[in-house]
């Protein structure tokens, strides 16, 4: 109950602040955020787009953790948790791609640029997409759980490289690329204190939101399995 109330308040604050805080060239009051030439109001995407990508990393991490747990104890509940995490991870990867793409059309000029980060999330979509094909191709429950656990562990090894390393060592359009400081104002993204606080609040709120949805997801799978076992 407390968890949900905190989540509700946090997310409401993030939405209000993310939309309503005024953007001015030289912030002088605490609630003002700095104007970035070329981005203006569009800079506010950082409060909503980055957390979705962050959630996909958390979801895939959880899928790996519960994949390892399944391999150790062979408990089908762990497979349900891993599966629910994978589904959410896929949803949030797609959301990050779509929101970024819409934004890119109006900031960088086209929906898709093959920027390092765009390329890496595309490859992640392919990697995790094939995991769903693998899951649906195997009828035997234990075999499916075992293969999917192994695949989710191997697949997660690529996530830190694609999300945290590759986009930072290559030149690109996203903030934080290797050429960040010399490509112009669009990439040179500097947040002031207020923006940082809202950004981290947003990450927290989205993370809490994820864990709630994940719980609903795996609980329903576990209950379905239990009822199914009773029927046969």
């Amino acid at each position: 109950m407390i968890y949900k109330s905190v989540l509700f308040v946090l997310m409401t604050v993030v939405i209000i602040a993310g939309f309503a805080l005024p953007i001015v060239p030289q912030p002088s009051v605490w609630y003002e955020i700095p104007d970035i030439p070329g981005l203006e109001e569009k800079a506010k995407i950082i409060f909503f787009h980055v957390p979705t990508a962050w959630l996909s990393v958390i979801a895939f991490l959880m899928a790996m953790v519960y994949g390892v747990k399944y391999l150790r104890k062979q408990n089908m509940d762990d497979d349900a948790k891993s599966n629910a995490a994978l589904q959410l991870g896929m949803i949030f990867t797609i959301l990050a791609t779509v929101t970024g793409s819409i934004w890119a059309k109006f900031t960088w000029g086209a929906f898709w640029h093959w920027d390092p980060r765009e390329t890496s999330i595309f490859i992640l979509l392919l990697i995790y997409g094939s995991l769903f094909a693998l899951r649906s191709a195997i009828e035997n429950e234990d075999k499916r759980a075992k293969l999917s656990a192994v695949y989710s562990i191997i697949a997660f090894l690529t996530v830190p490289f694609f999300i945290f390393i590759m986009p930072r060592i290559m030149t690109g359009l996203h903030p934080g690329s290797a050429n960040d400081d010399n490509l112009g104002p669009v990439v040179d993204f500097k947040m002031n204190g207020t923006m940082q606080i809202i950004f981290y609040l947003s990450l927290t709120a989205f993370t809490m939101f994820y864990f709630w949805m994940w719980k609903l997801g795996y609980k329903s799978i576990i209950i379905k399995d239990k009822i199914f076992k009773k029927l046969i």
Partner: protein, 52 residues
């Protein structure tokens, strides 16, 4: 009330803010109901399991 209407007409971003807030309240309440329903089903499955 008149003042609020004029303010919203001149700052249309705040209309979008209210729309997003309404959607968030809707999604939150739906998930909340779903959570309660799942808990009830979970309890029921547990109880019928004990009876057998």
């Amino acid at each position: 009330m008149e003042g609020l209407f004029n303010f919203l007409e001149n700052n249309s971003l705040y209309i979008v803010l209210f729309i997003v807030l309404t959607i968030w309240v809707g999604v939150f309440s739906y998930l909340n109901i779903l959570d309660k329903r799942l808990k009830a089903i979970e309890l029921e499955v547990k109880e019928t399991g004990n009876e057998e």
